[in-house]
Structures are given as C-alpha cells and as structure tokens.
C-alpha cells in the first residue's frame, strides 16, 4: 500500500478507535420523567456555576465570563439586533394580501406568547415551533414561506421574543404518550454524538460551558434557547434557532438535517422544557 493511501486508512482506523473508546457502555434502563429531568438539569448548572444566578444563564457566554458580561452590557446600549427587531415589528403588523395578518394566527394576537413555544400539537401528533407556526400562518394566508434560518424569520421571531421578554419559559407536556416520546427523542438527540468530531450538543453545552473553543466562550445549555433569535458577530447578522442547530451540526462535520425536521423540533422541545421558569431574553446578541 502506498504512503498516500496508507495515511487516510490510518486516520480512519484511528477515528474508529476513538469512537469506540470514547463511549463507555453502561446505559441504564429508566422511565421518562421530564419533571425530574428539569430539576436535575437546573441543579447540574447551578452546582457547576454557583456564582451565576439562575435567571442569568439565559445570557449564555456572558453569564460565564465577567469581561464578556461587561462588554455585553455596553453593547446593549445600541444592540446589534435592533434593526431586525424594528423590521420584525413592521412585518408583524403589516396585513397580508388577503387583509389578514400574523395577529390572526396566534393567541393574544401573537403578543407575549413566545414563552409557550414550542408546543406539542395533539392533532398533528408533533412538536410545533414558533418558526414553523409563522411559516404555516403565511402559507395559510397565501404567502410564500420564509427561509427558516435568518433575515425575515429572524426578524419576526425577534419581535415576538421581545414582546415576551422577562416572561418565564412555560412549555407544557400534555398527557399524550406521543408528546412524551417527542420529548425523549429530543433528549436523545441532545446527548447523541454525531459528526466526524464525535460531538453531541452536550459535549459543548453541558460538559464545557464557560470553556473556550477557539475564540468562543461556550454557552450553557440551560436557557440557551431563551435568547433566540440572536445577532452573532461571527455571522454578521441574525440567526434563528434553526440556524443555530444546523450550523452546530456542520461545525462538528455532520451533514445538517433540514430546518424543522422532526429531530430539530424535538430537541427544541426538550431544551425549552428543561429551561422552564427561566426568563425569555431574546432577541440576544452573541460574539
């Protein structure tokens, strides 16, 4: 075997060995108990970061690092998401061609309801996220769907999050085995390693919050979605929850799924549920 072909084989074999060794096998059979999960989830983070107030976890990396926190406070004087927020407000109130508007698709005319998304739709038997509900509203009114990852969708969700600022996340799991299954599948997705780098969501956001990954300070998983959508300096623009999930996947060398595929809807359901009680802080800004 020539050297140029031997090197890739050696690297593939090494990757396989790392995959094998990285995961000790001791799975425990247990029942699904979201209330117990949420309590343990919060305890894990408050034990790990005893100086951080529970409600401050929603500020992501800024809650982990004092210097960053000071920079962020100054940034909030002229927040970079402001243009998107203004655009979202204008879009939200502007009627569709048929005379109806987003207000007609949501409870309380869409104001102050962000904390209830995603929810489990018992008719459909699936999780419905805010982004999905917005595009369904558009399509039901004869308008084309927006891209799930940025621009208009980020603007609309920014405005809706802003009207819910400070309200505690309040995700319900109805007494429906399908809802519990969606929650459990979301949890499985969150902890499952994927991509060539063999990372799960938890590798960064449970095992290593506050640590640096290159120049970034990793955010804790607790309350991580409460700040969505976010303006990221790295993106030079706004991004939705869908954008965050898909880019996380590609960064670990995994092929991302399509935005709003069941896996992403379920993981959003799980992560939002375990952050119940923490305030909505979106739209947020991140380095």
């Amino acid at each position: 075997m020539r050297l140029f072909s031997a090197i890739p084989f050696a690297s593939a074999a090494l990757a396989l060995a790392v995959l094998t060794l990285a995961a000790p096998s001791a799975p425990a059979a247990d029942t699904v108990d979201p209330v117990k999960d949420a309590t343990a989830f919060k305890k894990f983070f408050t034990d790990k970061f005893p100086k951080v107030k529970l409600e401050d976890f929603v500020n992501g990396p800024y809650s982990m690092n004092e210097d960053l926190h000071r920079q962020w406070e100054e940034k909030e004087q002229f927040p970079p998401y402001e243009f998107s927020l203004e655009m979202g407000k204008e879009m939200f109130t502007k009627p569709f061609k048929n005379g109806k508007s987003y207000e007609d698709c949501f409870p309380n005319k869409g104001i102050g309801i962000r904390q209830n998304y995603p929810y489990f739709d018992e008719k459909e038997g699936k999780v419905v996220t805010l982004e999905l509900a917005l595009n369904r509203c558009r399509e039901a009114n004869g308008e084309p769907a927006f891209s799930y990852v940025k621009d208009e969708m980020a603007a609309l969700t920014a405005y809706m999050a802003f009207t819910s600022r400070g309200k505690p996340m309040d995700i319900k799991i109805p007494n429906d085995p399908r809802a519990l299954e969606a929650y459990e599948k979301g949890k499985e997705y969150f902890y499952t390693r994927r991509g060539q780098l063999n990372f799960s969501c938890a590798t960064c956001h449970v095992q290593s919050p506050g640590e640096r990954i290159r120049a970034e300070v990793l955010a804790p998983a607790l309350g991580i979605l409460n700040a969505m959508p976010i303006y990221r300096s790295e993106w030079s623009g706004m991004g939705t929850t869908s954008r965050r999930f898909t880019t996380c996947n590609s960064q670990i060398r995994g092929v991302p799924l399509s935005p709003q595929d069941d896996e992403y809807r379920n993981v959003e359901y799980y992560l939002s549920y375990v952050s119940n009680g923490l305030p909505i802080s979106g739209p947020g800004a991140r380095p």
Binding site: A12, G254, V255
Partner: protein, 102 residues
C-alpha cells in the same frame, strides 16, 4: 532464443500495463459504489459526515483526471469514513444515556 527474451518481456509488460489500467478503472467504480452505498446507509441513520461527501467528491475528481490509483484510495477512505459514521450512529443508540444529566 536469447534475443527474443526482451521482446517477449516487453510484450508481457505492455499487456500487463493495459490490463492493470483497465482493472484500475473497474476497481475505482467498485470502490466508489461501495463508498456511496455506505454513505446512503449513514443517511438512512440520519448521520452523514460532511467529510464523507467531500472525500467522495475528491475521489470522483481524481477519476475524472484519470488518476485511478488516487481515486481508488480516496474512494476507500470515503467508505471508511461512512462506515465510521454508521458505527457511531449505531453505538450511540444506547450510549447517549451515558452523557445524560440525572
């Protein structure tokens, strides 16, 4: 007879090279098909790796340029990557629980 030896050897060498070249292209096609099949299996498990797709593309590029030795080696690397992603997806079906906060 001794004078014929180099001629016979040359003919054998030429015939051998031609056969080896033809075999290389077929080998490449087989290696690429195996890698592609493994990557499809990873897709069914919702766990493709970006590097597998990139390596498959690199294999095709080498084959298009006529470098079948490199194309075969690269296709085999792509297959190894796809198989590793399948192993990962399969083993994580139970191993994710080891990371769970309890």
């Amino acid at each position: 007879m001794n004078m014929l030896k180099p001629v016979v050897a040359s003919m054998l060498l030429i015939a051998g090279s031609v056969c080896a070249f033809a075999a290389s292209e077929d080998d490449y096609k087989a290696a690429y098909a195996a890698a592609e099949a493994a990557n499809k299996e990873a897709a069914a498990l919702r766990n493709q790796w970006t590097t597998t797709a990139a390596t498959l593309a690199a294999a095709k590029k080498s084959a298009d340029a006529g470098d079948f030795d490199k194309a075969i080696a690269t296709a085999r690397e792509a297959e190894a990557l796809a198989r590793a992603s399948i192993f990962q997806a399969t083993s994580e079906k139970t191993r994710w629980k080891d990371m769970e906060i309890r």
